[in-house]
């Protein structure tokens, strides 16, 4: 690989992270609020009560604002693929092309068609068709999310493909293996259900504000009931799908799991760190304690990671340096195989250029035998395979703590609203007002776990981020980083202003 400036790699990473995080401010609210609107409208159609229509139209307006501001924020990420990540986008084009094409053709058109009926069709189409359209928008939005999450899942667990050394591309061999990979399914269910939780928190936040101000009380209470039930069910589902995601990490990305658990020395019957403070001086292979303090639940990590009580969970040191007893191959050993694969690729390339078929064939045979560890051939040291441990650990634990808080909050809201005295719970309502922001923190932390935890890999085990990066001027990346920061911040301010204006107006006639 070309001798690439690491500051360029890091600025390219930072730019992608910035734009992805801004994108994720808008997307999960769309995913969840679309379903909440469908539920509100279903109640309206079922009961014929015009107050539910007013409630539906209110939340739908806020949904529309978020959708409009957020639409096309994802396009920027595609621009970045072509400019900042050209090696990567060339190699994965065949894999990403299919899911993103399906997203565009199927999901987006479904969404866009029924979106117009949802907004323009009140009093113009039948109640039944309007309700059907609202549900189609919700399903279409979530189906859009499926395809991009399938693409991301493939980066974490590349499957269903073969590398073609003639074209330097991964070629899809099995579309269904890519679509239904266990990592893709768990990522899709976990990410979308986190959106359902976030949207429920949004409804609770706005409704709590109304209750504190003594405005639109009936609408607030009705909205809280629906959102709390949806949010509670989604929270439980998030926990189950999160467990599945961690299990998949243990099977396919054990270094990621070790990082977010702060586990350096692998062990049988490994405990789960519920709370802790990482020793930031700790390095792989040294004798320092990984934690300044920790509170562990004995044996739970082995059970959750492997679904087998007492099983061995490899730590960072086992994965970097190897553990013969537990049959864990170390990074150093993988690097030797990977370096051979890189050399064989170079030999193949030269032999093809020289039109020497015999040498090319021999090189290809050797490459094929070693290609599983190709990515390790680009690492400079074994320790390079370790992602940032503090960032992984804290983001994971913040996400889980908040994820534990939310269902408790939904239960409290449901209890007091059904009891009829939610407006008097002045200790709970301010927490409700804060909860939407906390939901965003949890969601963003989840993506930090996923993407920082997979470092140094762009494609797990096959391509490090530094190989994926285009060797362009770092000044270019810095300039566009700050341009995006400016533009997206303006969009966010616009969204907040327009939303607050609509919230201050409130629902019609209530």
């Amino acid at each position: 690989m070309v001798d690439i400036d690491l500051s360029l790699v890091n600025w390219s990473r930072a730019q992608f992270a910035l734009t992805a995080m801004y994108h994720w401010i808008f997307v999960p609210l769309t995913l969840g609020l679309s379903f909440l609107c469908a539920m509100f409208e279903s109640i309206y159609v079922r009961t014929g009560n015009e107050k539910w229509k007013a409630i539906t139209r209110f939340w739908m307006t806020l949904f529309g604002i978020n959708f409009a501001i957020g639409v096309a924020t994802g396009i920027i990420l595609e621009f970045e693929f072509g400019t900042n990540w050209s090696n990567y986008s060339w190699m994965v084009g065949d894999i990403f092309g299919a899911p993103l094409a399906v997203e565009g053709i199927f999901a987006f058109f479904l969404e866009a068609t029924f979106f117009a009926v949802m907004f323009f069709g009140w009093n113009r189409v039948s109640k039944g068709f309007h309700l059907f359209s609202t549900w189609m928008v919700a399903i279409g939005s979530n189906l859009s999310a499926l395809w991009i999450l399938v693409a991301n899942a493939w980066m974490q667990y590349p499957t269903g493909m073969a590398f073609n050394p003639e074209t330097a591309r991964f070629e899809m061999e099995n579309f269904w293996a890519v679509l239904f990979s266990p990592v893709a399914m768990s990522k899709f269910t976990h990410a979308t259900s986190s959106g359902f939780v976030l949207a429920s928190l949004f409804v609770v936040t706005v409704s709590s504000w109304y209750l504190l101000k003594g405005r639109h009380l009936e609408m607030a209470k009705k909205s809280i009931i629906v959102a709390s039930v949806f949010g509670l069910l989604a929270s439980v589902y998030v926990a189950f799908t999160g467990d599945e995601a961690a299990f998949e990490d243990a099977q396919h990305q054990p270094m990621k799991l070790a990082a977010y658990e702060g586990l350096y020395k692998g062990e049988k019957n490994a405990g789960l760190v519920a709370l802790g403070m990482i020793n930031s001086d700790k390095k792989p292979g040294d004798a320092q304690s990984p934690f300044l303090f920790e509170i562990k639940v004995p044996g739970l990590l082995s059970l959750l990671a492997n679904r087998e009580s007492g099983s061995f969970v490899p730590g960072i040191d086992d994965l970097v340096y190897g553990n013969k007893e537990q049959k864990v191959m170390g990074v150093a050993e993988k690097m030797k195989i990977g370096q051979q694969a890189v050399a064989d690729l170079a030999a193949f390339k030269q032999a093809r250029k020289d039109k020497n078929d015999a040498v090319a064939s021999a090189a290809l045979t050797r490459f094929t035998a070693n290609k599983e560890y190709l990515g390790y051939g680009y690492l400079s040291t074994p320790e390079e395979a370790v992602p940032p441990v503090s960032t992984s650990f804290y983001s994971f634990h913040i996400m889980v703590m908040l994820g534990t808080l939310f269902p408790v909050m939904f239960i409290a809201y449901l209890f007091f609203t059904v009891k009829g005295n939610i407006a008097e719970q002045r200790w709970l309502l301010p927490l409700g007002v804060l909860s939407f922001f906390l939901g965003h923190v949890a969601g963003q932390m989840g993506w930090v776990v996923a993407e920082v935890g997979r470092q140094p890999w762009a494609i797990q085990g096959l391509m490090p981020v530094k190989v994926a990066t285009t060797n362009i001027a770092v000044g270019h990346v810095q300039a566009t980083f700050f341009m995006f920061l400016g533009v997206f911040t303006l969009l966010l301010i616009a969204e907040i202003k327009i939303m607050l204006k609509q919230i201050s107006i409130g629902p019609e006639g209530m």
Binding site: M1, T61, F79, T83, L345
Partner: protein, 75 residues
């Protein structure tokens, strides 16, 4: 009796005409798309491989060149 295309056209036309909040949102959408495609894409985000190489064979060669060099120490 209006045909289906006329009905759809009228539906959209009346929908856009009666927008309130939607007018502001559409302005934002159009400005955003203009900035993204006419400014960002055009001036700041050329497709590196399409711009610097003419054929897929050249692009593949370039990427293969990147992939076939051994690791160098980080700096």
């Amino acid at each position: 009796m209006a045909g289906p295309f006329t009905s759809v056209y009228t539906f959209y036309r009346n929908g856009f005409k009666t927008m309130t909040v939607g007018r502001t949102l559409w302005k934002i959408i159009l400005i955003k798309l203009l900035v993204m495609f006419a400014v960002f894409k055009l001036f700041f985000f050329p497709n590196y491989l399409k711009t610097n190489f003419q054929t897929d064979e050249q692009r593949a060669d370039h990427v293969l060149e990147q992939l076939s060099r051994p690791a160098v120490p980080n700096h």
